[in-house]
């Protein structure tokens, strides 16, 4: 019986419950929920980043009183330093958008429409200077940053991302608590064996090591099963959700995110083993 390794003889001391016990199932469920929530959090975070990047340098010129000033506004925008693209939003597009919101009345020709001109700035452009030039050239024109109108959405996405990571932590803590209960239960089950081992000179470390092996195996099996199930379901959802890809400007989860999700069951197993070790040693110290 070595301190940190478990021999075949040691394995016989604490018979394995295989994967029939409740701990692997519990860990599998916890890991499944954890991976799904973590994936959602990562996808939301990625979407927020993509949206933010997309609107970071995009602005609009809004002219509410007719199209007579359109050419002047476009000319003023094109002459401003740092402007990379200037393009009027076609009135038909505006009407289609209004029709979605207002119904058939939104498509009526006599409905007055503002003029909207999209303006992209190069990174590092002097935004106030561009705004001043346009507003001086066209009276009543407003130079509006897209990020200002999308700020509530971005805040919501960031909040949801943080909530997801908070939930992952909570689930990890719940898993740890479940493992502690299971470890203490295992000690009670094998009380007689432990008393004999202590009586003939086994240290707490030696006793704890016997239990840790089983707990680590249970946690690993449960973690891998839960993560694999979650991975299959996520793959099916992401593969079938083209809106997610178009919203995020690409797949909502990258390879880096996949690596994080794959590492989760290993992290759960490691956490479970460390927590169980502490719990076992504390429980053993309560005895002489």
């Amino acid at each position: 019986m070595k301190l940190h390794s478990v021999s075949e003889a040691d394995r016989r001391l604490i018979p394995s419950s295989g994967i029939k016990g409740p701990v692997p199932l519990l860990i599998a469920i916890m890991t499944f929920v954890m991976v799904v929530v973590a994936a959602a959090g990562l996808a939301l975070g990625n979407t927020a980043s993509v949206v933010k990047q997309g609107v970071e340098n995009r602005f609009s010129i809004q002219i509410s009183d007719g199209s007579a000033k359109t050419s002047a506004a476009i000319a003023a925008a094109r002459s401003a330093p740092g402007v990379s693209r200037v393009e009027q939003v076609p009135p038909e597009d505006l009407r289609r958008t209004l029709e979605r919101w207002l119904g058939p009345a939104g498509a009526e020709a006599d409905l007055p429409l503002p003029v909207i001109i999209d303006v992209d700035l190069a990174p590092g452009a002097d935004v106030p200077a561009v705004a001043r030039r346009i507003e001086q050239a066209v009276a009543g024109a407003r130079f509006v940053a897209h990020r200002a109108s999308l700020a509530p959405l971005l805040d919501a996405l960031r909040g949801l991302t943080m909530l997801a990571f908070g939930l992952v932590l909570l689930i990890a803590m719940a898993s740890a608590a479940a493992v502690v209960l299971a470890a203490r239960g295992a000690l009670d089950t094998h009380r007689a064996t432990i008393e004999v081992m202590h009586g003939i000179g086994a240290t707490d470390e030696q006793v704890a090591t016997l239990f840790l092996r089983q707990i680590a195996i249970d946690a690993l099996i449960g973690g891998i099963a839960g993560a694999a199930t979650a991975g299959l379901i996520l793959a099916a959802i992401i593969g079938g959700a083209s809106f997610a890809t178009s919203l995020a400007g690409g797949p909502p989860l990258g390879w880096g995110d996949a690596a994080v999700l794959v590492a989760l069951p290993l992290a759960v197993a490691l956490l479970a083993t460390m927590v169980a070790r502490g719990a076992l040693l504390r429980a053993l110290r309560e005895r002489l």
Partner: protein, 264 residues
């Protein structure tokens, strides 16, 4: 009779027996030791005695006298609630908990209820003390088989305790207690479940170990066992108090005679 240690076991236990034997010191010293469980009254009171290294002692007394409690103190399953208690010349009443396994490895215990691990084979039960002290499997196999053969259980090595008779379980418990060649053997009614021939054999094992330098303490009601062991000293407890009218246990002679070295 050839003991297992006179063969391969002696080699296997060389690591655990690296300690130099002291011949004339006290292996156990109790100084006004008292023990109570919880808030109850004291079950042991003012125990004041010394046991010489290499001695052979019988612990006797009526039921409820405190024999089991005294044995628990001796094999470090219990701490005294007052007084000083030293084993192997070290004060252990207040020793840190982490230090106790090292002392327990120097003690072999035969429990009255055997305390074998039910799901392990007889072989694995006997091998446990060697494995706990880090012996390699190659150092375990031979000595354990030798010891099982010596207690007459060579053909029951793979049997689990529930399939063994009371006497067979007791012999496994004895083999486990002595396999690592402890300095102190504590046996609680070790012949309680065996026939007369096996009782004689077990007594012979204990006396042979005593001759090799091991201190032996046997709790028993068996007067025949006591009578058959010339040279052994008696520790008698009554109502938790040591009965020692001559003071021999408080002030033992310097070098104890080993059993068989003097007449009855």
């Amino acid at each position: 009779m050839l003991l297992p240690w006179q063969g391969g076991l002696r080699r296997a236990n060389a690591v655990t027996r690296g300690r130099e034997r002291r011949l004339a010191g006290s292996i156990v010293e109790f100084d006004r030791v008292g023990l109570r469980y919880g808030t109850g009254g004291e079950v042991l009171r003012d125990l004041d005695f010394r046991l010489a290294e290499g001695g052979f002692y019988f612990l006797t007394g009526p039921s409820g006298a405190g024999k089991t409690s005294l044995l628990k103190l001796l094999y470090l399953a219990q701490r005294p609630t007052r007084g000083r208690m030293s084993l192997f010349s070290d004060e252990l009443a207040h020793a840190p908990r982490d230090a106790l396994p090292g002392y327990r490895r120097r003690i072999g215990v035969v429990f009255q209820d055997f305390r074998l691990i039910r799901h392990l084979s007889a072989f694995d039960n006997v091998a446990l003390p060697l494995r706990i002290t880090g012996h390699d499997e190659t150092e375990v196999e031979g000595p354990v088989r030798e010891m099982l053969a010596w207690v007459g259980l060579a053909d029951r090595a793979s049997a689990r305790p529930p399939t063994l008779s009371g006497g067979e379980q007791q012999r496994v418990a004895i083999a486990r207690a002595v396999i690592a060649r402890p300095e102190l053997i504590i046996a609680d009614e070790p012949t309680g479940n065996v026939d007369a021939a096996m009782a004689q054999r077990i007594l012979h094992l204990l006396t042979a170990m005593n001759r090799l330098g091991t201190t032996v303490i046997v709790a028993t009601h068996d007067l025949g066992l006591i009578a058959a062991t010339p040279g052994a000293q008696l520790i008698r407890l009554e109502n938790g108090v040591l009965v020692d009218p001559t003071g021999a246990l408080r002030h033992p002679p310097g070098t104890p005679p080993r059993v068989g070295e003097r007449g009855a």
